[in-house]
């Protein structure tokens, strides 16, 4: 569980940072006539987003999230700044309760 959370968090931040660079550095430069940054960072973000999708989805399966929070989590990787906000929301709303629930000694079935 902790490993799944860590993988998701790392990818949320990496994808988020690259997307911010793409949108707030790459796109203005492209508009100004220097498309190289936007092109290269765009491709990098595309690849990172695929990895983010996989990890975010694996975590959402672990947490047994309903469809709506899962979709929010997955699409966050395409909207600038959104990954950071959603990561905090998911942590507070789902990850922390799941982790503390798991730590309870009253677990009826342990394997």
């Amino acid at each position: 569980m902790e490993a799944a959370v860590l993988r998701y968090r790392v990818m949320a931040y990496v994808t988020g940072v690259v997307l911010v660079i793409l949108c707030f550095v790459g796109i203005p430069l492209q508009v100004a006539g220097y498309p190289t940054v936007a092109n290269d960072v765009g491709v990098v973000h595309g690849i990172l987003y695929i990895i983010y999708l996989v990890f975010a989805w694996m975590l959402s399966r672990r947490l047994r999230l309903a469809t709506k929070p899962t979709v929010i989590m997955l699409l966050a990787g395409t909207i600038p700044i959104m990954t950071f906000i959603v990561e905090r929301w998911v942590t507070r709303r789902f990850i922390n309760p799941a982790l503390t629930g798991q730590a309870q000694p009253t677990a009826p079935v342990g394997r």
């Binding site: 569980m1 672990r62 047994r64 629930g101 677990a107 009826p108 079935v109």
Partner: protein
């Protein structure tokens, strides 16, 4: 109609809510494939950057289809009682001990991935049923 016959379990799939979801899934997958095709033609026209997106969009389309299929599979499992309904968020309404037991059952099952162990899933189904049954009892019996 003979009243004794139970409704088939898959009937929920044709409810308006689910039909809308199916339509959305088809539109999303089709749209992504269309975008992939568009990028493919751009790539053929000499835009070398488009090659990356030519392969990316079909991948996303496949992901959308898998996601849609999983939502259906989960719904069947919830209806069979093999899995607690994540939308219920029932643990918040329960006394502390029961809440942690239900939550722990859920996370143990989740940690194992697929429900390979029939005994464990049967027990978890039992817990989920108990949870549903006693959901509002505390209020009436003065437990909280």
């Amino acid at each position: 109609m003979t009243g004794a016959q139970p409704r088939p379990r898959w009937l929920f799939l044709v409810s308006p809510r689910w039909l809308a979801w199916h339509a959305f899934a088809v539109a999303a997958a089709w749209g992504m494939l269309w975008l992939g095709d568009w990028q493919f033609h751009r790539a053929l026209a000499g835009n070398s950057l488009s090659w990356a997106y030519t392969f990316e969009w079909p991948l996303f389309a496949g992901f959308a289809v898998v996601f849609w299929a999983k939502t259906i599979r989960d719904e069947f499992r919830i209806r069979r009682g093999e899995m607690p309904d994540p939308r219920a968020a029932a643990t918040e309404d329960l006394p502390a001990g029961v809440a942690s037991a239900v939550q722990a059952a859920g996370s143990v099952q989740a940690a194992d991935g697929a429900d390979e162990d029939p005994e464990l899933s049967a027990y978890n189904a039992y817990l989920a049923r108990l949870n549903a049954e006693v959901k509002n009892h505390g209020r009436w019996h003065g437990l909280r």
